[in-house]
């Protein structure tokens, strides 16, 4: 399928709630809003594809393009591995002016050969980028020939940056897994309680925060797509009994197509927040029982949920004195616009605004459930307005991603990173506790009073 057809296909996603709410004609236009030149932010399709695939730790990830794509971008995420480290190395063909003139296919071929000979990895993912796409380098053909020649999987990832946004790149990565990886290896240890987790990239080890919960229930991870993954695990993902899609609208096509092709049903869920973690466990247990697991899984799950929730609420209680009465500006979007709200509200915090930029109708309903019809939902807040709210004390702390970090800090207000660049793991029950702990630390740090005090010679 051509790249254009692929993009049209993933944009027609019937499993996507946002898409279902659209009319037929609107749906046909696809879900990539054209970017506004001079007022756009965020990564490109290549970026998104690499984010989704690079956590496959024992594969080599080779970027075919000039130095900007990998030289500026490698080594920038905290996707953790329990073993192999090959995925951490940056590999690129570093195309020069001469390569552009003569075509980059030969150099790509040689680069693949060097990687194959030096590391003997189970797979090499080859990322197409804008410049070689423009000059007509046929990455698919080179990968096919290299797979045959070197007897390993050389997989083209056709998501050049100009194809669209990071979100589209995520989707195209999912398509790549469907087309080239999933279903290519038969495991010999299939069980009735095997699941895949889709959409978790094990940032700062968050996958490891929740896996012990599954293990206590006897639920086994067949494949992680793709946090801390091994290539062969992903290749055998088609033998799981259920899929869990976490916080990802982008990879819903992957989950839906696995259901179509391999009859693996999926549920959507999130590990952010206490109720959500419980709901994920509950939903997954139900799904597995319907798929043939022993019915006592349901009771065991309820027992685990009850004991974990009680434990975590007790632990959270000691933060109430610091957090109670504090006003939070929650600027994230998507499911995080509500998933941590209940914990914060329970501890006496007020959410003064929560942004619903990337949120679905379902997300918005959840916010209303938690905060009532008058829930303070907003779309994008211009940075200048955000700065004012923080500077004037309308909010005591902002929870957001790295992009808006300095708006808060320059306004001399505490800030907590809750997006993918963060250094702390916030998934599951213990992750929620960790988040609240970090929140309390940020708010109670002694610098705030000092930095806000004017110099003695002013006033």
């Amino acid at each position: 399928m051509s790249l254009k057809a692929k993009i049209a296909d993933v944009f027609q996603e019937p499993g996507c709630a946002t898409n279902r709410a659209k009319t037929e004609t609107v749906r046909k236009k696809g879900c990539s809003k054209p970017l506004t030149p001079g007022a756009a932010a965020g990564g490109c399709a290549f970026d998104g594809a690499k984010i989704a695939l690079q956590p496959i730790t024992d594969a080599a990830h080779l970027v075919h393009g000039p130095i900007g794509c990998e030289g500026n971008g490698w080594d920038n995420r905290h996707s953790a591995s329990s073993g192999p480290t090959l995925y951490r190395s940056g590999f690129t063909t570093d195309l020069s002016e001469l390569d552009i003139i003569h075509g980059g296919e030969k150099k790509l071929w040689k680069a693949i050969r060097e990687l194959a000979e030096r590391y003997r990895p189970p797979a090499i993912f080859v990322y197409q980028t804008c410049v070689p796409a423009m000059i007509g380098d046929d990455v698919v053909k080179v990968c096919k020939a290299a797979s045959d020649k070197f007897a390993l999987s050389v997989i083209p990832v056709d998501a050049p940056g100009f194809a669209g946004s990071k979100n589209l790149g995520n989707k195209l990565a999912g398509e790549t897994l469907l087309d080239y990886v999933i279903g290519t290896h038969e495991p010999d240890d299939v069980s009735a309680q095997d699941i895949n987790i889709i959409g978790d990239f094990n940032l700062v080890g968050e996958l490891w925060q929740v896996l012990p919960l599954f293990e206590r229930l006897g639920i086994r991870l067949r494949a992680s797509l793709t946090g801390d993954a091994r290539y062969l695990e992903v290749a055998s993902a088609h033998r799981a009994k259920a899929n869990l899609l976490v916080c990802s609208q982008a990879l819903i096509t992957l989950a839906r197509k696995m259901e179509e092709r391999y009859a693996i049903p999926f549920i959507e869920g999130s590990f952010y927040g206490i109720t959500d973690t419980s709901n994920v466990l509950r939903g997954l247990a139900g799904l597995l029982v319907r798929q043939g697991a022993q019915p006592d899984l349901l009771e065991r799950t309820e027992a685990l949920i009850a004991s974990e929730e009680a434990r975590i609420w007790r632990a959270l209680e000691c933060f109430r004195p610091i957090l109670s009465g504090k006003k939070v500006l929650l600027y994230t979007g998507g499911h995080k616009s509500w998933s941590i709200v209940s914990a914060l509200q329970e501890l006496g915090m007020t959410i003064i605004k929560t942004s619903v930029r990337k949120a679905t109708e379902g997300d918005k309903e959840r916010i209303k459930d938690l905060m009532g019809e008058e829930a303070p939902m907003v779309d994008a807040i211009p940075p200048r307005e955000m700065y004012r709210m923080l500077k004037e004390g309308e909010a005591d702390i902002m929870l957001s991603g790295g992009r808006t970090q300095f708006v808060a800090l320059k306004a001399k207000r505490p800030w907590l990173d809750i997006n993918q660049e963060r250094h702390h793991a916030y998934a599951g029950y213990d992750g929620t506790l960790r988040l609240v702990e970090r929140l309390a630390l940020a708010l109670s740090n002694p610098i705030w009073e000092q930095v806000r005090r004017p110099a003695p010679w002013e006033n």
Binding site: C44, P66, G68, G71, N76, D99, I100, F406
Partner: protein
């Protein structure tokens, strides 16, 4: 004299080099009220922006023309025009600094032509300076992109001197290379001011990215060289260019305005610092101030105290060419030896490095050569190899994302060199003890006891 050798492999592994548009856009960060704009896909901007945020720990106002597949085929004029108009109406910058990327250069866009057209169509932009630097990703690296941007600033914004206008002898221009930190620029400005002179620094990251807290929200760069300052550079009495990659800009300014220039390959170490101070003393006709004499003496003392730890130490060094020249030469002046040298691009002046060979390559090449070294110096991406090889690691250059204070690291002048001796010397001291095995007879007697 070192031989420059190109790495013979097709797969660059653990890249050392970053792209030219990133260097160009970073140079534009040193202008006041500026909005750097990369003409390419949104990813070109996003990757560079993230790297700068991680290094400086500041918001970085980069923008993108957001080229997509269709506009790449049809041509980028509309995107460039819209981007400039949107930026002008939203953030009202004094300058939009435009860098091209591999994407638009491969297509062969006539960007200067597009800009003329945009100017004609939009008289409302008359108060906004537009500067364009050609920086395709596939030619050179950060240093080359930075150089192209500074040359473009001079060529576009410096005004030819009016007839009969007097030169301002008391003012000199300082063209700062990309290897200078905000801390370095502050140091050089102080040194110049110590002679009763004032300096126009271009570009001036010490104004915008020194890490300070403005009292209001500003959506462009805040601080840096002003458009008027650049316009007036032609009236200065002298231009000082720091780093070989700033010579082209110094020559361009000279050609346009006649300001004489002097170039410094490097300003790290006693000799180069003396050379700068001597130049300033000669130019100003003043005696070297007591403060600088004292600083010199302090550096000499640091060299005396520190040299024990540097003698015959084997160093692995990688970076952009002018940073390599500054640090590599200084290291040998302290008695260390350059064992493994890797540079981003094949600049001929790398031959001046006092080592056998400079490889144009990546961090993987450096790792292959650095076994048995006593010290590693490169940017933060070297931390993986430092760990694998168990090498003491001093971070220098861009990016430094796993340390605080990259903006105030000071490597030039008497005080900068002294700081450097202390920082690197401490690392070598910590790891440099002899490990004599306990004599067999002593081991025996202890076992008996």
């Amino acid at each position: 004299m070192a031989r420059i050798v190109n790495a013979r492999k097709s797969c660059a592994t653990n890249p050392l080099k970053m792209s030219a548009p990133l260097g160009g856009a970073m140079a534009f960060m040193g202008l006041d009220g500026c909005l750097p704009l990369l003409h390419g896909s949104q990813g070109c901007t996003a990757f560079g922006l993230v790297l700068l945020v991680r290094h400086f720990r500041e918001g970085i106002p980069f923008q993108t023309t957001a080229m997509n597949e269709v506009t790449t085929i049809m041509g980028g004029l509309d995107n460039l025009e819209q981007a400039i108009l949107n930026i002008a109406s939203r953030t009202k910058p004094r300058i939009v600094g435009i860098c091209s990327t591999g994407l638009v250069e491969t297509r062969g866009e006539d960007i200067p032509g597009d800009m003329r057209l945009i100017r004609q169509r939009h008289p409302e932009l008359s108060d906004t300076a537009l500067v364009f630097a050609s920086t395709p990703d596939y030619v050179g690296g950060m240093e080359e992109g930075w150089a192209a941007a500074v040359t473009a600033m001079v060529e576009t914004l410096a005004q030819p001197r009016r007839a009969r206008s007097r030169r301002e002898r008391g003012r000199i221009n300082l063209l700062a290379g990309c290897h200078l930190t905000p801390g370095d620029i502050e140091e050089l400005r102080e040194t110049i001011e110590a002679f009763g002179l004032s300096a126009t620094v271009l570009p001036d990251l010490s104004g915008s990215l020194d890490g300070h807290v403005p009292e209001q929200y500003i959506s462009t760069t805040f601080g840096g060289t002003k458009v008027e300052d650049i316009a007036g550079m032609g009236n200065a009495g002298l231009t000082i260019a720091v780093g070989g990659h700033m010579l082209a800009a110094a020559q361009a300014l000279h050609a346009k305005t006649g300001v004489p220039y002097v170039g410094f390959d490097r300003l790290t170490g006693l000799g180069p610092s003396d050379h700068l101070v001597e130049t300033l003393a000669d130019y100003s006709g003043r005696l070297v101030p007591e403060k600088l004499r004292r600083q010199r003496s302090q550096l000499v003392d640091a060299m005396l105290d520190g040299h024990f730890f540097f003698g015959a130490k084997q160093v692995a060094l990688a970076g952009e060419p002018d940073l390599m020249l500054a640090l590599g030469t200084w290291l040998t002046e302290m008695g260390a030896e350059l064992k493994a040298l890797v540079a981003t691009t094949a600049q001929p002046r790398l031959e001046l490095l006092p080592g056998a060979e400079v490889l144009v390559g990546d961090l993987d090449d450096l790792e292959a050569m650095a076994g048995g070294c006593d010290l590693l110096i490169t940017h933060s991406h070297g931390r993986g190899m430092a760990e694998r090889l168990g090498l003491p690691f001093y971070r220098a250059g861009f990016p430094q994302f796993d340390r605080l204070g990259a903006q105030s690291q000071r490597l030039v002048g008497y005080r900068g060199t002294r700081d450097l001796i202390f920082a690197v010397g401490n690392l070598l001291m910590e790891h440099g003890h002899d490990h004599v095995p306990v004599a067999p007879s002593r081991r025996m007697s202890h076992a008996a006891a």
